[in-house]
Symmetry: C2
Subunit: 465 residues, 2 copies
C-alpha cells in the first residue's frame, strides 16, 4: 500500500488495480443509495480524486456519510478507471479514516460554493482550500521556480540585497522606518531631534524599495546577477494595483546596453509563460473557465509574438496621430499613462512593445544619458491586457556624468558614496530591469486585485496576519 | 567571433582555434619580455582565463602594459591549449579593449593579495571581486537553487509569508518595529500611549521572526509547502554566529510526524551538499586550500552518512556518562548547549545526529505534546563541525491541547485567533523544520563569521549600505 499524492493517482503513472492511499481534505461528499462519492483534494494538483465508499466500510454510517467539506481523511483502496465525467481514475475505498472533523459544518467559511474575494481576504489562512487560491498558489510557485531556473540556466547568480537599508534607492517611493527605539522614551540629539545613532544599526534605517543599487556592485564582479526578494512601498494606496509589500525581480548584466536589456526581458517573460503553459495547464483551464476566458490563449500569443520596439519619441508621435481621445495629455517630455501604454500595445501593435529612450527629466538619476543629451537609455515593456510589466535601463557608468545627474536631482553624493565608488574601478556599461512578481501573478491568473496575488493580503489600515 | 563566458572558454566545450571574445576584470597582469599575460575574471567560475598579449597589439605599449587589477577589458583572440600550469586554455589576443581604468591603482581596495575579512566587510560592494567572496557568492547561489529544486522535485509549493507582521511567531526573538508614524509628532491614545491605529497597517507591526505559523495554514490545504525568505532578530549581538537579517527555509508537511520530519531533513541536507559537490568543486577546492582543509571531505562524509537518531533523554544520559568536562550543566530538563551538541555529533557518533523529544517546558508552545505528558515532539539536527543546523517539530494539531499550552506560556488566544482557527477545520498531524540559510553557507564555505555569508554584512550599530 503506497501513499501517493492525488496528482500521482490521477497522472496515469500508477497501474489501475494498485492499492493506494491518498490523504487530504474533503471537497464534496455525495450520497447515492448505498454509495458515497467523496472528493478528496490534497492541493498537489487542481483536481480532487473521487473515492467511492460503500456500506461495506465499517464506519460508513457512523462517519463516511457525515463527512463534509474541509474534513481531513486518509483513504485507502484500489485505483480504478473511472466512469465519472472529467476524471480518469477513482479509488474504490477499502478504508476511510477520518483525521479531523469540521467543528461546525454550517459555519465553516470555505463552503463548496463561490465566495466573494473580499470575504476570502479576511480568511487568508483558509482560502488556499478554494479552487481559485489553490490554482493561484500553484501558478505563483511555478512562476517563482521558473524565475530561478531561467537565470540559473543563463549563468546568473542570485544575490540577496539588504532588506533593512539606509539607502532610498531612487527617492521614489515612501518608506517604512525600521527601528528598535523605545517610542515612549526616544533618545534625543543636541538639537532635540531623534538621535538615530542610538538605533539598532546606528543610523536611520528603512525597508528597501529596490535592491538595484546593491546588486549593480555585484554585477561589476560576477557579470550576470539577479535579485528576487521582498520590497516595500509605504504608499497609502487603496487601489487594486498596489501592495505595500511585494516581491521584486531585478536582473543586472555587465557589458550590456539597452538592447541587450530588452532582449533579456523578452527571453525572460517568454520563458516564464512557457513554463506555466507546460506545467500548470490544469490550473489555467480553471482560470480560463471561471476568471479570464483568455487565460491560455493570451499566454500562447505572448510566447509566439516577437516584441516590437518603439522609441519614446515615436510613441508620442503615434499617440498624437492616433485620433484616440485620452484623459491625459500626450506631449514630448511627459510620462506615458496606462491608457497610452495600453493603446500602443493593444490597439496599435497588438503584441508586447518595448518603449525606449525616455526624456531624461522624467527618469531616475542612475539611467544612462544618451548622446542626444535629452533622453536616457530607459525602457518600459508593455503587454496587452496589463500595460507596463517591466521597467529597465542602461545604467550611467560614467562617474562624471552620474555626478552631474545626481546634482541635477539634488542628491547628496556622500549618501551614495559606495554607489559612485565602484564606477571608479573598472566601470563597464551595464543594464538591468525590475518587475513586480505579483504583477506577473495578476496577469497570468487574470486577477483584478493584486492583493489576491500574494499569500497573505493586507491593505493600508488592515493587517490581520 | 562569439562572446563567451570565462567558464565556457575554460570548459573544453569550445574547439581550440576558435575565435572568441571574453569580457571581465583584470586580476593580474604579468610582463615577460615582449609579452604580457593578462588574467581576466568575469565571475562565471572560480578561475580567470589568461590572455596572452603581444607587442603586435596596437595599444600594447599605451594600454595593455598599464593594465592593473580591477580594470575592465574586452579581449578577443584565438582559444588555444595552454602550456601554463593549472590552466587548460588561454586566449592568444588579437585585440584588448580597455573599458574602464582603475582611478588610482595604488589605492584600489582589492589588490591581488590577501585582505583581512574585517577590511573587506567595509567594502562589501567590492569584495565579490576577491577569490573568496566570488566563491562564497557562487556557492550561496548553488545552495539557494538546490533548495528550490529539492522542494519542487518533491512536490512542495513555495509560499512567501508576510515580512511585516502583527504576529511574533514564538515570542522568541526581539523584534524590529516597522512604522510610518512621524517620530516628531507621535499620535497618542486616550491613555497617552502611542496610538498604533494611526500607523500604516492600523496596528503595531514588526519584521517577521519566522514564517512558520503562516505557512502551517497553507500546509493544511496544499500538503507540502515551504518558505524561503528573509527573517529578522533585533538581538544586540556582536557574536560571529548571529545576523539581524538572514534568510530562513521552513518546510511544512501534512499527515506527518516527527520521524517524517527527520527523514525530510536528512534528505534535504544531503541533496544540498551533493549539489555543491557536483556544481561548485572549483570554489570548494579554493576553500579547501585556503580556508578549511576539510571543505570537500566533510561534505562527502556528510552525504554518505546515515543520520543517527537519539532521544533527548538518552542524549542526557550519554552526556552524563561521557566523563567529559562541560562548562554548562547536563541535566534532564535543561537545554543542550553547543558543547554538548558537538560532543554528541563529533565525539560520540561521528556523524549527523537528530536529537528528538525534548522536555516540554523548554520548547515552544506549538510543539506537539507527547503521550508521556512531559516531552514534546521536537528535534534538533546536529552536524559535526557546526552543531545545531536544523530545528523542527511536529505541531500540536489538537486544539484543546494547544489552548492548554498557550495558557501555560501566558499567550493570548485572541492574538493567535487565525492560528487556532485552522485547527478547527480538518486538522491533521503536521510537522516542519526551520534552518538559517546563512548557517549553511558558513558550514559549506568554512567561514568563521556569519557576516561573511551574506552579500552585504551589517552588525548592530553599523549599517554602511
Amino acid at each position: 500500500m503506497a501513499v501517493v499524492s492525488v496528482q500521482q493517482a490521477l497522472s496515469g503513472s500508477i497501474a489501475p488495480g494498485s492499492e493506494v492511499t491518498v490523504r487530504g481534505w474533503v471537497r464534496t461528499n455525495r450520497a447515492s443509495s448505498a454509495l458515497n462519492f467523496v472528493n478528496v483534494s490534497d492541493g498537489s494538483c487542481f483536481d480532487p480524486i473521487q473515492a467511492v465508499a460503500t456500506e461495506a466500510l465499517a464506519n460508513f454510517e457512523t462517519e463516511v456519510k457525515k463527512l463534509s467539506a474541509g474534513c481531513s481523511v486518509i483513504v485507502t483502496g484500489t485505483l480504478a478507471p473511472s466512469q465519472g465525467k472529467g476524471q480518469k481514475f477513482e479509488i474504490q475505498a477499502t478504508a476511510v479514516e477520518v483525521c479531523g472533523w469540521v467543528e461546525d459544518p454550517e459555519t465553516y467559511p470555505i463552503q463548496p460554493k463561490p465566495h466573494s474575494l473580499e470575504f476570502l481576504r479576511e480568511v487568508a489562512h483558509l482560502r488556499p482550500r478554494t479552487n481559485l487560491f489553490g490554482a493561484v498558489t500553484r501558478i505563483r510557485h511555478c512562476l517563482a521556480q521558473a524565475v530561478h531556473r531561467f537565470f540559473h540556466e543563463q549563468g546568473f547568480y542570485w544575490i540577496s540585497t539588504p532588506i533593512v537599508t539606509t539607502s532610498d534607492a531612487e527617492g521614489a517611493g515612501q518608506m517604512f522606518r525600521v527601528s528598535t527605539l523605545d517610542l515612549a522614551n526616544l533618545p534625543r540629539d543636541a538639537k532635540g531631534g531623534v538621535d538615530f545613532s542610538k538605533d539598532f544599526f546606528g543610523k536611520e534605517t528603512f525597508l528597501t524599495v529596490s535592491g538595484q543599487l546593491n546588486v549593480e556592485a555585484y554585477c561589476l564582479a560576477l557579470s550576470k546577477v539577479y535579485t528576487f526578494g521582498p520590497t516595500f512601498r509605504a504608499e497609502n494606496s487603496h487601489t487594486t494595483r498596489h501592495l505595500a509589500e511585494f516581491w521584486m525581480i531585478e536582473p543586472e548584466i555587465a557589458f550590456a546596453d539597452l538592447n541587450d536589456d530588452a532582449n533579456l526581458a523578452e527571453a525572460f517573460l517568454k520563458y516564464l509563460f512557457k513554463a506555466v503553459l507546460a506545467e500548470r495547464l490544469d490550473d489555467l483551464a480553471f482560470i480560463a473557465e471561471r476568471v479570464d476566458k483568455t487565460a491560455i490563449s493570451k499566454l500562447e500569443a505572448f510566447v509566439n509574438a516577437p516584441f516590437e520596439r518603439i522609441d519614446y519619441s515615436e510613441a508620442v508621435s503615434l499617440l498624437q496621430k492616433s485620433g484616440q481621445k485620452f484623459d491625459f495629455p500626450v506631449e514630448w517630455g511627459l510620462d506615458l499613462q496606462t491608457e497610452h501604454e495600453r493603446w500602443l500595445t493593444e490597439q496599435h501593435v497588438g503584441r508586447p512593445v518595448v518603449v525606449m529612450n525616455y526624456p531624461e527629466q522624467i527618469k531616475a538619476f542612475y539611467m544612462r544619458l544618451n548622446d542626444d543629451g535629452r533622453t536616457v537609455a530607459a525602457m518600459d515593456v508593455l503587454a496587452p491586457g496589463i500595460g507596463e510589466i517591466i521597467g529597465g535601463s542602461q545604467r550611467e557608468e560614467r562617474l562624471d556624468v552620474l555626478d552631474k545627474r545626481m546634482a541635477q536631482f539634488g542628491l547628496d553624493p556622500e549618501h551614495y558614496g559606495w554607489y559612485r565608488d565602484f564606477r571608479r574601478y573598472g566601470t563597464v556599461p551595464h543594464a538591468g530591469f525590475g518587475l513586480g512578481f505579483e504583477r506577473l501573478v495578476v496577469y497570468v491568473c487574470g486577477l483584478s486585485n493584486i492583493r489576491d496575488a500574494i499569500p497573505y493580503p493586507r491593505a493600508p489600515g488592515q493587517a490581520t496576519f
